[in-house]
Amino acid sequence: MEILATRNDKGTIVAISGKMDAVTAPVYEQKLRELIDGGETVFVNDFSRLAYISSAGLRSILATAKILKPKQGTLMFCGLTGPVRDVFEISGFGSLFPLHPSPEAALKSIG
């Protein structure tokens, strides 16, 4: 799994490629935690190059969202396709978080 974080004046785009499972999910969680500790509160997770996400990946997202709640932060997702989109839909994550087709659309939604 590779993570590339790009800061924008509206938020931080976190592009994740590869697979998000029990081995790699803690890396994602740690990276987001570091960014939150650095003051970032708005994140767009770009999953367009994510091959699949397991329960461990979902748990890491949940843990990150819990940290963001008291900071009034936002966790958005974009580029979900195939099995990643299916897992989001059946797990309920698709109704928990804003989903967008692209990072640009996600950032535009912030206004």
Binding site: D21, S54, A56, L58, G73, T74, G82, P83, P98
Partner: protein, 177 residues
């Protein structure tokens, strides 16, 4: 699943989950500490208002299964659970239905849905889920469940709040003593 008469049965199947209202999520591990064979996330949901006449709660177990061996172990472990034992631990219990399934493409997880039908008098509340449902389910399944996370515990996705603070909260801060 196959496509028949122009209907994508797989997408129809996925669509079923859209008709549910997610109430909470909790993570879990095998109670015996053998978490290599059993760990994951469980979604607690119920039918959206008006979508079903039945009074039931759906538990969707998303079990970590990175390879075929783990998948077989997860399946066997869940097949061995006697969900009818919920009747001994949950007074509101009426009946149960266990549905295993896999998605069309590999996702690193095994899925198991447990539909728990409840007596009419049961009020499905946060307290019921935390104090009654989750302990009963974990006891029967032989798992250790984490603290349930409810929708209201997560960012609300309201983008007016994005950027750190809404206008209202910023105004409140201006007038703080």
């Amino acid at each position: 699943m196959t496509t028949r008469d122009g209907i994508d049965l797989y997408r129809e199947f996925i669509e079923v989950f859209r008709r549910e209202e997610m109430l909470a999520l909790f993570d879990f591990k095998a109670a015996d500490g053998d978490d290599g064979a059993l760990s994951g996330l469980c979604k607690v949901s119920r039918p959206k208002a008006g979508k079903s006449d039945s009074r039931y709660i759906s538990l969707l177990f998303i079990i970590e299964a990175p390879d075929e061996k783990a998948l077989r172990e997860a399946r066997a472990r869940f097949d061995a659970i006697d969900w009818e034992l919920l009747g001994d631990r949950l007074p509101e219990f009426e009946s149960v239905l266990s549905i295993p399934f896999t998605l069309r493409e590999f996702t690193g997880s095994h899925f198991r849905e447990i539909d728990i039908y409840l007596k009419d008098r049961c009020a499905i509340s946060r307290r019921f889920i935390v104090d009654a449902l989750c302990p009963a389910v974990c006891s029967v399944a032989g798992i250790r469940g984490g603290e349930p996370v409810f929708r209201e515990d997560l960012p609300d996705g309201n983008l007016a709040e994005a950027g750190g603070a809404s206008l209202v909260s910023r105004l409140r801060n201006l007038f703080k003593p």
